[in-house]
């Protein structure tokens, strides 16, 4: 675990040096900041708007950072040939993948923390301090982002960057729409299609599970039980993604 941690810290520091991280962060902060200019709305609606825009921005730009960091984590090491010196050292390939996952999760954490601090500052500025529901929403977004990153990392162990990028974005969209998809499938009479839909529903992570902002924004509380269950759901998917990544990385020649 110490070796994985060493790789994680290195991944974190290297990702911090990437311009992409700062560009996405600055754009996200600008979007969050811009949400306060909806002052023509009634005070209550303005707060809803700030929360809605901010949660969406943290989630969307966080997803971009998670995908780009994970993409660079494996292919960057191969392209720059730093992988040769790493794998010639007494580390296992699972040390490498777990280290990369922890490293990119630290970057995601930093990114979510910075955007959240800005957002919470905005709430204080509007004299509406955040409640525990706000933190629950941010926490579930964080788990979702780690899941998105872990899937991209896993695919990076066997696929090209171009394929991985398209796949990750496609999955991001499908993962958010899958609930609607299954509702539509229920109306289809074809049994084969229904079964296929059901299979996909159970294989593809349902990112909407992590989305509680719609409830929080309108003042509906989400229970700790739901947060716990959804976290567990996320952890199971992350574990499966990492195991698949490790499996393929053990077979990969660099």
């Amino acid at each position: 675990m110490k070796k994985a941690w060493t790789i994680a810290l290195n991944t974190f520091h290297e990702s911090l040096r990437k311009k992409t991280f700062y560009i996405l962060l600055v754009v996200a902060l600008v979007v969050i900041g811009a949400s306060r200019f909806f002052s023509f709305l009634a005070a209550e609606d303005e707060l809803k708007m700030i929360k809605d825009v901010s949660f969406s921005t943290i989630e969307f730009f966080g997803a971009l950072i998670a995908i780009f960091t994970a993409l660079a984590a494996v292919s960057g090491e191969i392209e720059k040939r730093t992988i040769y010196t790493l794998l010639s050292k007494p580390i296992t390939r699972s040390n490498f993948i777990i280290g990369k996952l922890i490293g990119q999760s630290l970057i995601i954490l930093l990114n979510v923390a910075l955007m959240s601090i800005f957002f919470i500052g905005l709430l204080f500025f509007k004299k509406s301090p955040p409640d525990i529901q706000t933190f629950k929403t941010i926490f579930l977004i964080f788990i979702e982002l780690i899941l998105i990153g872990s899937i991209t990392l896993s695919v990076a162990t066997f696929a090209t960057d171009a394929f991985n990028l398209i796949f990750s974005f496609f999955l991001y969209i499908i993962g958010h729409l899958i609930s609607y998809g299954t509702q539509m499938l229920e109306r289809i009479e074809n049994v084969v299609l229904q079964r296929l839909g059901n299979m996909l529903y159970h294989v593809i992570p349902n990112y909407e599970n992590f989305n509680i902002k719609d409830k929080i924004v309108v003042g509906v509380d989400v229970s700790w039980q739901y947060v716990g269950q959804t976290t567990l759901y996320g952890i199971i998917y992350i574990a499966i993604a990492v195991l698949i990544g490790i499996h393929f990385f053990y077979k990969r020649e660099v």
Partner: protein
């Protein structure tokens, strides 16, 4: 005692369903403890492939590898190996001491030992004055030297060096040769791959010549010069390659060695 052994080691890369390239073909060799063993061969002869196989970075198509009695993937074995890749590239935002600390940690070395080794290695490779410089400001020669320091951080029993003098000026080459002799005197087993004949001639106790993935010949320089009736290593090298090409009927144009796998 053989420290490293390969038995009928082959590596075939599949390019498509009909084409494959044999990078290494049925190589059996052994490297004894305490020797400087040179792998010689033209570009594309299979030297780097052989080293990557020994380090477990790529996987053999056929054959076996034994390093200190274990297979090449063993973490225990790797604790005793230092590796310098060809044209080494490291995380260029780190300084020399930082890069040594990073790799030292991967060997589970205590911080105090890493500090001690860092100081002595930076002095050994003459990079003490560049301590605060990040690697992106290093010249090619400096990168080669920090690479050598990285390969020595764990005080390895086996040192595997892939073209260690590439990019070095004549003084740098001489310093590297002197260093290799010093390391050899301290009991290290060194496996050195190079296409610079003079370098190999001066430092290696035993050599092997690779060509188109095949092991042409192996032995001490003296015994091979006698066997091939050659005047020097260059002459020996040319004779061994020509002999192989005439025996197999291959020409220089076959160098890519594309074969039909069907």
């Amino acid at each position: 005692m053989a420290l490293i052994e390969t038995r009928e080691l082959s590596k075939v890369y599949t390019l498509s369903s009909k084409k494959s390239v044999t990078a290494l073909n049925n190589v059996t060799m052994s490297i004894e403890e305490g020797e400087i063993f040179g792998i010689l061969g033209p570009n594309g002869s299979g030297k780097t492939t052989c080293l990557k196989l020994l380090l477990g970075i790529i996987f053999p198509t056929e054959g076996e590898i034994s390093i200190m009695g274990q297979n090449q993937y063993s973490v225990v074995t790797k604790k005793n190996i230092g590796f310098l890749p060809e044209n080494p590239y490291y995380y260029d935002y780190l300084t020399g001491p930082e890069i040594l600390k990073f790799y030292g940690k991967l060997f589970d070395m205590p911080p105090g030992i890493i500090r001690e080794r860092t100081d002595s290695l930076l002095e050994l490779v003459n990079l003490n004055n560049a301590k605060n410089l990040s690697l992106k400001h290093y010249s090619k020669g400096m990168l080669e030297r920090i690479g050598l320091a990285v390969s020595l951080i764990n005080d390895p029993k086996i040192l595997i060096l892939d073209e260690p003098t590439t990019g070095l000026d004549p003084i740098g080459c001489k310093e590297t040769r002197d260093l290799l002799k010093k390391l050899h005197d301290s009991g290290k087993t060194i496996l050195l791959s190079s296409h610079f004949l003079s370098e190999v001639e001066r430092v290696c106790s035993r050599i092997v010549i690779f060509h188109k993935g095949n092991l042409l010949t192996t032995g001490t320089l003296e015994s091979l010069l006698e066997e091939y009736k050659a005047e020097n290593l260059e002459d020996l090298f040319v004779k061994a390659i020509r002999k192989f090409d005439s025996e197999t009927g291959q020409t220089e144009e076959d160098a890519i060695n594309l074969q039909s796998s069907v």
